[in-house]
Symmetry: C2
Subunit: 333 residues, 2 copies
DNA sequence: TTGTAGGCGTTATCAT
DNA sequence: ATGATAACGCCTACAA
């Protein structure tokens, strides 16, 4: 059989007579040929069907966050019709110098998603640009050419803060995500640089409603870190409300309050951010801003699909929606 | 400059004079050449540097389980020196028939990890075998040729059950993982087929100590499903101990007990399985069997590395270790 | 140390 | 409807 006929039979892109098809298939079976080698195909086509996703932390930590998980799901859905799988890439490289790490430089990817923003992002973007690979950035700034998928963090955080203020609270503490790569927990002083833009933006939103509120940075977005932060906060002074920058932190804060003998929301109101299902938080339902995490991932995937298709991909800004739960109430007496 | 010199400069596999190196690099910069095209390289070398990981569920659900997450982390570490990234693959294909889904058939992978076992696994294994791609199966049976990474599920579950029996409990209920793909929650009757081997094996282990114990299957391994199952269990009868097949289920069970006004461990003992940190469970520390999830992933990665290296890869069976917490005690009066 | 040539397995183009 | 052929970009003997 000829090479090209075989190719045509397997790809189905050109009509083939049934007789030849049978012959080809028979020969293939006899020779143990199971279809085209994806490596050769991707060389020929200039496409590998793979989208890279770059994280900045150990996978084990990253995937603990339900928001990330949902985003990945949306992303996976959006790139599937593109024939693409998701390649997990760790943003290590600069580090200890294991020389053979897989990296953006050498991975056979058609496109890439950068999540968050790190000092190294600039560099990664340059690599991608040089390789001519489309990129989209989620929750980070990739410069003017790079489509970004964003959230109305400031407005959203302001909205929930205003809800709290509307209830009559004035003595409020803000519980924030880590401020920088060091992740040192503690009260945020004025001289502390906030490298994490999400933290900074949400903080600004909360301060739109409560300009003078003290803010305490957690080490990570988890229930346990929220609990630790909550203990520290309550140890110094008991506010009537705590505005947390994530649902997990809020959940931890609630535990800390319970531990201190406070009832939520009677003695202390707590708000979250994200709108994820916090496993095990029932019967509480957080008052929170729900973000469309799945859609964010999907939008990122669609933006990449557009770029690979030669079309333009616009940045997209998603809007959070306020969700009333049972963790906020008017301040006590 | 000649092609081969350039290749040599970029790969560094042959000594090159400094002068030429500079010339090559300069020329590359001028021409906008950023290094070898991974697609061509992988065709030539017969290696793509990518390891596929096949899941059977939506990523969003899969990664909710800390055990999976840790495993992925270990796997990522183990394949990194191999120069390999992890490609997420969903085991959909059989389904609705989106024709262009990425699949085991067409992904440019050097090796693959199959997690758990599904009806489709057999088929996937055949594809891999035909393509000559090394595979390892985690917690599933891939036949005699396929290395498997396993746990001493039965012995481990027996051990913790014996601990409970040793405390003097006789009225015990087992809280299990889903029994099959349908995931219907409910009491496990004798005629119910248990397709999920992990569920079956752990159940057998628990019955080694408590042959007659009733078992209730949860819909999934999560705190919320554990809570739902816990309510159902306590609704029919309050045992003195519950042996759960996962820490998340155990955590939910504890919540259900609290909700019913029972104290843990005074009124009811609860054991888990996995030894993961359940975010937000403090101050409880589960009595549980800790499994080396990270090591499991790492072992899988190393097995694949061995196979790719031409060496043989043996199956490996990990052992869980008993961990005493504060959720078990002698039964009340 | 540098250059030359062949082939990895496809797919697209073109001619039959 | 089918077959021949070139090119995708690289790596690696081997020759110079």
């Amino acid at each position: 059989m000829s090479v090209s006929t075989t190719s045509v039979v397997f790809s189905g892109k050109t009509p083939v007579s049934d007789a030849t098809k049978q012959k080809v298939l028979a020969a293939a079976a006899a020779l143990g040929y199971t279809g085209p080698d994806p490596r050769a195909a991707s060389l020929r086509l200039g496409r590998s069907g793979i989208v890279g996703v770059v994280f900045q932390d150990h996978l084990g930590n990253v995937f603990l966050d339900p928001v990330v998980t949902q985003m990945m799901d949306g992303l996976a859905d959006a790139v599937a019709p593109l024939g693409a799988g998701l390649l997990l890439l760790r943003d290590d490289e600069g580090g200890a110098g294991a020389p053979s790490e897989p990296s953006l430089r050498t991975a056979p990817i058609d496109a890439a998603v950068l999540i968050g923003c790190s000092p190294r992002m600039r560099e990664q973007l340059e690599v991608m640009q040089a390789r001519g690979i489309p990129v989209v950035v989620i929750e980070g700034d990739g410069g003017s050419d790079v489509p970004r998928i964003d959230l109305d963090n400031r407005e959203a955080q302001r909205e929930v803060a205003q809800h709290v203020r509307g209830l009559g609270h004035t003595d409020v503490v803000l519980l924030t995500l880590p401020v920088d790569a060091l992740r040192t927990p503690g009260w945020i002083t004025d001289d502390r640089q906030i490298t994490n833009p999400v933290t900074g933006t949400r903080l600004a939103g909360a301060r739109d409603a409560f300009p003078d509120a003290q803010a305490f940075a957690a080490r990570a977005s988890s229930i346990d870190e929220g609990l630790a932060a909550g203990r520290a906060i309550l140890g110094s002074h008991v506010p009537t409300a705590v505005i947390a920058q994530s649902d997990l932190l809020a959940a931890g804060m609630i535990r800390a309050a319970e531990e201190a003998g406070l009832r939520v929301p009677e003695d202390i109101s707590v708000t979250g951010f994200d709108g994820v299902t916090v496993d095990g938080l029932a019967p509480y339902v957080l008052t929170t801003m729900a973000q469309p995490a799945n859609d964010k991932g999907r939008a990122a995937g669609e933006a990449l699909a557009a770029r690979l298709d030669g079309r333009d991909a616009a940045s997209f800004r998603f809007t959070c929606t306020f969700r009333m739960g049972n963790t906020t109430a008017v301040p006590r007496g």
